[in-house]
Symmetry: C4
């Protein structure tokens, strides 16, 4: 029934649908990390300075998490443009990747609510590192021996997207090292690297 590890009836399109759904929900759920006021309990007074002090770290991590997830989503779609088929290994590696994508709202909440904790920042960075490595793993698995891509796919394309898939993992490792060194704002490394990413993309 199922040859070469392929899963009957599970086309690339269906896996993309689940992936799109989980990415869209995880990105929207990020907003719940902003600690909504709740009028059934006593509300603190609201002033410009209270809003700024209460929500600046939350908002910063919301923007980072949303942008990084969007970047992963773009990468995922570029890869699936080249991938022609799904087998059991690629399917479950992708599901494991989605498990960590769905976890991002939680680690974002941790990092945003403990802005002074290098540990909370590190948990967030390790989460993004794992997603990045799993996306890289799917790409390698699919392209080594042209297992799930066209036999004639140019090696340059393989190398280009391997390099791009390394960007977020490298930034995450830098962030983790900064956090280990005691920095409390190590997650800012994702924002600082934006001009760097744009430059790489232009010349790659």
């Amino acid at each position: 029934m199922e040859e070469r590890g392929q899963v009957t009836g599970l086309t690339k399109g269906r896996v993309e649908a689940l992936t799109d759904g989980i990415f869209a929900f995880a990105m929207t759920l990020l907003v719940t990390t902003l600690d909504f006021p709740n009028s059934t309990t006593t509300l603190p007074p609201i002033t410009v300075s209270s809003l700024v002090s209460l929500y600046t770290p939350d908002l910063l991590h919301y923007v980072i998490a949303f942008a990084v997830l969007a970047g992963f989503w773009v990468t995922h779609h570029i890869q699936f443009h080249y991938i022609q088929a799904m087998d059991r290994t690629a399917l479950w590696t992708n599901i494991t990747c989605l498990l960590f994508v769905a976890l991002v709202p939680f680690t974002t909440a941790l990092a945003g609510d403990y802005p002074d904790s290098p540990l909370a920042a590190m948990v967030f960075e390790v989460n993004l590192l794992i997603i990045g490595l799993l996306i890289l793993l799917i790409w390698n698995y699919a392209t080594v021996g042209r297992r799930l891509v066209e036999k004639t796919l140019d090696e340059k394309v393989v190398i280009l997207h391997t390099r791009r898939s390394l960007i977020i993992p490298v930034i995450s490792v830098i962030g983790i090292l900064l956090a280990l060194a005691g920095s409390t704002w190590s997650t800012a490394v994702y924002l600082l690297s934006v001009p760097f990413i744009l430059a790489i993309k232009r010349y790659s």
Copy 2:
């Protein structure tokens, strides 16, 4: 691999799928701004007057936010009907727009829970203003020099949809000015402008 800034494998359809997902989810998440009762804590007694006093501001902002997001969604789809292709700039402007769409449940909760605060209303109005301006920006970027639309697209269509995209930003600026002047119900300006919008749409 990628000519003229196009992103391999990211078709208009895929961007629409992510956009539909985030809009639908953000619109449904709005309901969580209504401060659900929680039976694991002590529940306040429920009467018609307690329901009215507790939920009127929340419900009002729920309706405004749902209707404005629905309007943005309609506008987005009309624009994407004309847009033929995606490039990197349009993609990331769209993702930035979605970042602010996903933020609406939070700013709606703020405005609904602090009905007496012009500041909370202003945060909500600024959020809608930014979404409106980003949608306008995508339209301008796509149509200037017919960059991402058909070369033969009638200038009248461009002007018509530019004007329509200005409606929510203009209302938001009026709301922000009212809030700055100290009005506590500045968000009602979105409801008051409904007959005005219907009139414009009929004669445009």
Copy 3:
């Protein structure tokens, strides 16, 4: 650009996508009405009797709301099978309907957390009544003069689906009357009517 109130680029398919999304999310969000335990606060001891007493009303309303929303979703799709086109009026009536669909998790939480309150039950029943009437309204609007359906559509089909669309509104009105009479379990009327609905469907 837009003839006879039609909205450029907004096909029936796109409206169905938003509708599917909001129905799926609202139905899944219903689970949050079950008052999750939260291990960051003190947890009550867990026993069979505490689970039963704490969650029976919540679960009952979860099942009712899930089943009624599923029924509305089925009805919506049967109607959209016959509807050929969308105009501005049908679009915004549908969006208003979705606004009340997205509200169901909130009114379900109210009814489940105040099982002894006829008022809370009534709010829930009024919510379902409004959704039912709006779905009926779309069907009437689309079929009167065969406005948005095929000109040759059999009048029997129109009448059949009008009758079916009346089932939930009629049950809701009975529930509201029971609640007004002081009954605390008026929402059970939705469950009691299941065999009745099955009988109607068989012989219609």
Copy 4:
């Protein structure tokens, strides 16, 4: 209008869309069982040991629930690959199945927050058992007499997928028996059975 119990306008594709939506959303909502910190209340200090003790049971159940739901989703799609049509019975059995899928975030929260309670683990296992049995029921209903599948479908395919659909129910029954015997970590049975499942799949 509707022959042999078929529902007009409700194609297999539409049912798959609702199913995909509810699965994706339920899997993403699982993250909310991790008890996000909330910066509007007093935050406990964060250390490696507090994170580990607070979140280990939650994370374990998050991983189990995500993986089991992903497995159900894969099974569902394989079945729908063979199923050619939907009738009223299959539709509502599927909706009932989705009702229990949407319930998983709640029972996962129970099991994760009461790691020392065999009762909480049992509620979680019963939930997964019911989903598994309903998926099996749909498969049996569709294939007995080749009711909703191709008349020529090989009996070997029917038996293969019946066996596979029994894996999670069997594991759940083992978990329930362990919980009844007083074991506090009965849910770990899902993890322990992974190598077993892989072996079965290879040789089936």
